[in-house]
Symmetry: C2
Subunit: 588 residues, 2 copies
Amino acid sequence: MRSHFCGLVDESMIGQTVTLCGWADVARNLGGLCFIDLRDHEGIVQIVAEPSEAEGNAEVLAAAAAVGYEDCLRVTGTVRRRASVNTKIRTGQVEVLATRIELLNKAQPLPFHAHENPGEDIRLKYRYLDLRRPEMQRMMRTRIRLVQALRRWLDARGFQDIETPILTKATPEGARDFLVPARLHPGEFYALPQSPQLFKQILMMAGFDRYYQIARCFRDEALRADRQLEFTQLDMEFAWVEERDVQDSVERMIRDVFREVIGVELDDPFPRMTYAEAMRRYGSDKPDLRIELELVDVVELVKDSQFKVFTDWASHADGRVAALRVPGGAAFSRKQIDDYGAHAGKFGAKGLAWIKLGEDGAFSSPIQKFFEPAAFEALATAVGLQKGDIAFFGAGTYKVVSDFMGALRLKVGKDLGLVQEGWKPLWVTDFPMFEWDDEQQRFVALHHPFTAPAVDDIAGLKANARTAVSRGYDMVLNGNEIGGGSIRIHRPDMQRAVFELLGIGAAEAEAKFGFLLDALKYGAPPHGGIAFGIDRIAALMAGTDSIRDVIAFPKTTTAQCLMTGAPSPVPEQQLAEVHVRVVAKTQE
Amino acid sequence: MRSHFCGLVDESMIGQTVTLCGWADVARNLGGLCFIDLRDHEGIVQIVAEPSEAEGNAEVLAAAAAVGYEDCLRVTGTVRRRASVNTKIRTGQVEVLATRIELLNKAQPLPFHAHENPGEDIRLKYRYLDLRRPEMQRMMRTRIRLVQALRRWLDARGFQDIETPILTKATPEGARDFLVPARLHPGEFYALPQSPQLFKQILMMAGFDRYYQIARCFRDEALRADRQLEFTQLDMEFAWVEERDVQDSVERMIRDVFREVIGVELDDPFPRMTYAEAMRRYGSDKPDLRIELELVDVVELVKDSQFKVFTDWASHADGRVAALRVPGGAAFSRKQIDDYGAHAGKFGAKGLAWIKLGEDGAFSSPIQKFFEPAAFEALATAVGLQKGDIAFFGAGTYKVVSDFMGALRLKVGKDLGLVQEGWKPLWVTDFPMFEWDDEQQRFVALHHPFTAPAVDDIAGLKANARTAVSRGYDMVLNGNEIGGGSIRIHRPDMQRAVFELLGIGAAEAEAKFGFLLDALKYGAPPHGGIAFGIDRIAALMAGTDSIRDVIAFPKTTTAQCLMTGAPSPVPEQQLAEVHVRVVAKTQE
């Protein structure tokens, strides 16, 4: 239907006849001439209709005059040099003198203009119009190139792209499953996979050696700006490997792909940091290294003060007292300080103490009175306080202080413009094997129950579960966990022991994971892998904060598709066929 | 963990030290020597442990002696020339003299041996062992290479790989939807997509120009050997195209991919046939051209006979009387003829008439008595009957006769070894737009409700709906419909008219397809596409009849995963969270 793309018409084609298809981006009538900007995915070219003696010219002029915004057109004409060059577009040296203008589909008045960015609800309802916008095309195509580059890299290295089921058994990743009633098995349900975790481990036991899949995963959890009901991960698994085999391989992959897709050269090698170090220095297991500020532990310097909050936590076995110096923060108003306190409060802080050192060299601080002058000066020195700075202090359990001081660090960094340009990847390693859940009074897995512990010895693991370190690892980029993985347990006795430590009894283990325990018995090779969040990486590459900008048809934070209207009610009869019925609110 | 793959050790490595990982395929003790066949995905190599003065030799011998079938091992040793060459394996010139044998994971006695093919239930339950078998590895890897080749072809040509939602709205392809209760929207449900049909059309309206996706699709229908609850299609769509643009492009793709993956050169170009011709000559819209037998229409030759079944249908407006000559079929026993009658009966035949022409030139036929001798000879001549042949005759409505005579043609072809070697692709085109459904007393769409009719004129379509031809097309290979597509409707008025003809009222159309009708209003470009069945194409390439051989974790014909045990019951509490409960049989 066309000979060329609109956006690729250039000076080399001057004098040629071309046929173009696209949308009327703008149409103007000026002194008997009609100008139409015709747009396709490659860009825009100017079409001109002008009076002439040529046969059919009257039809061309009439058709041009009738063109409306976003009409779908086919135009035939001759490429010629443009009188007034437009340097803003690639085709700005040329225009097409129309000899035929065909209206393929008339557009009714649009709910919004392709050059506008209306509210997100409108954008999602009319997603087909939203996606026509050049900015959305750019972001979506960045994602497409990312996935293409990943696949090419993996295919060239012997990774086998294998599909695993979407209709499967309830998975054990800890999040809530989506359920699908089984018509042929009344009262039974399939579950959508939270990840292909067990299938990929099984594939290693099945002899596929290297596996990958761009896999759709599903979690029925509260939605946030960066979460969707369904999301996409690059899922990978390797047989006969140790940590560094996996890490080195995928680090090369990520570096190669960033270079190829957005021309960015990432560190080689990525810095490495243990979980303990990351929590100590940054209060986070996914530190944003673009912000140079670090936490400072001050237990030794506050334990002899009169400030009870500090002294209590300083003597607590699991206590932490940490400070964050904010350059220039002495200028913060009382309101600003309160706002930071409130922000930290969202992450568990009961309050924030602070010390200002004014430009005049004078301290001001609500906690100064609790310290001997020399001890106070020593504290200020220890946190690196300089004239014009403020330091915030937090006290509490190690985990809670790390969380809120880490959150404070990020907020202060963003507010004060302390986030450096560029890309800061790192590996975080040596995660704890378990976390103690006070509420449930049991251990929970920090990665997942199939992650191998660093020790091979089952008795040792049981004796030291609280301090046990796993063989898990995360890849972090600019404060985002973009990939997470581990070496897996490949011995059935160790897998049983870990289930036991997690409070999964033998019967439950058999019911849920019997096939895994079986498979481990028949010569399962050592194996490990990783999964990368494609939506997040694509958003980072495209330079957007919202993963919805790199998903063609995303759902809202209320889990709806505004375009199709999903979810929606279903006739009784259809529900009866799958042996369920809706429970009214009162019956629940 | 390893330096080389087992299956790739070769003579160039003689004298080198290698470290290999794999499974013990066979272990034998012979006169103080131990031989182990070590297997990985690349193949098998022989490991030898023999007595020597070397340090640690005792440990090596002990480890080798203890090796059991499918133990997972790491072996270090020296490559040397083998005394007795094994020409059956790639590594048969060499062996590895072990200096270290490490047991990575002991295998318990297996439910079956990797060189066996036990019943399918056992294979599916222990899928990880089944997939280790070299034959399964070969078939699965054929599929992987197919998908890789398709992607490479499409990526190189500007097709955009875009993911569409799995949690979506009830789709209208006619099959039964899988439903997913929506936790945040009590009483509402998502549906799993039967295909990304509407999303890919929307993507064309959104300016993506060329789209593809290796898409998971879901149909809750009765399972047959070649059906799964979830299946994979290569889904494609093109903007600004006509039929031949799509067909020529994907025909090249299929030809290129067959050449690349299995070294087969398909016809160039593919033969083309209308639906009407396919039904007339082969009684099928997916004719297997490897069988040369064709149906012969004989209405004119039987209409003056005394055989009432023939004369009734010969005078019926929608009647068909057709014959199939079977070379050598005069030798069929009465039992064989009855069996073919029963087979045709499964496809709607009330009975099969027949004429035998013996090697002696004598006819035998239950219907001979209804014909004048000359008319009988003329009939036999018309169907091409030669000495030793039989001809079967069927009468009924056009559709039913085509169906059962087409099925008979396939069965006879297979039984008599008349299926030629090789690959016979073709295009089937000019499908009817609608089929009249007697039961529902309404038209149903032969492709789907978004397929464009061959005419642009709405009044004309309405007036001639029964005979209207669509712009749909199928790609057929060796009797399998491997791809189906169409040019779509891109005008809202035509889409409304087709909905109306299909008995979808304005309100229902708005509720189900409102977003499509909306999208068509805003300058939708002409567009069309196609979808290919990846499971079926992979099975054909791998040379297996069952698509389950090219799916890593297939479900049974009773919709179960024998490995994981899906589907399974779910706790009441979990159901309550999504606002449904199970309806007991008696309540339904």
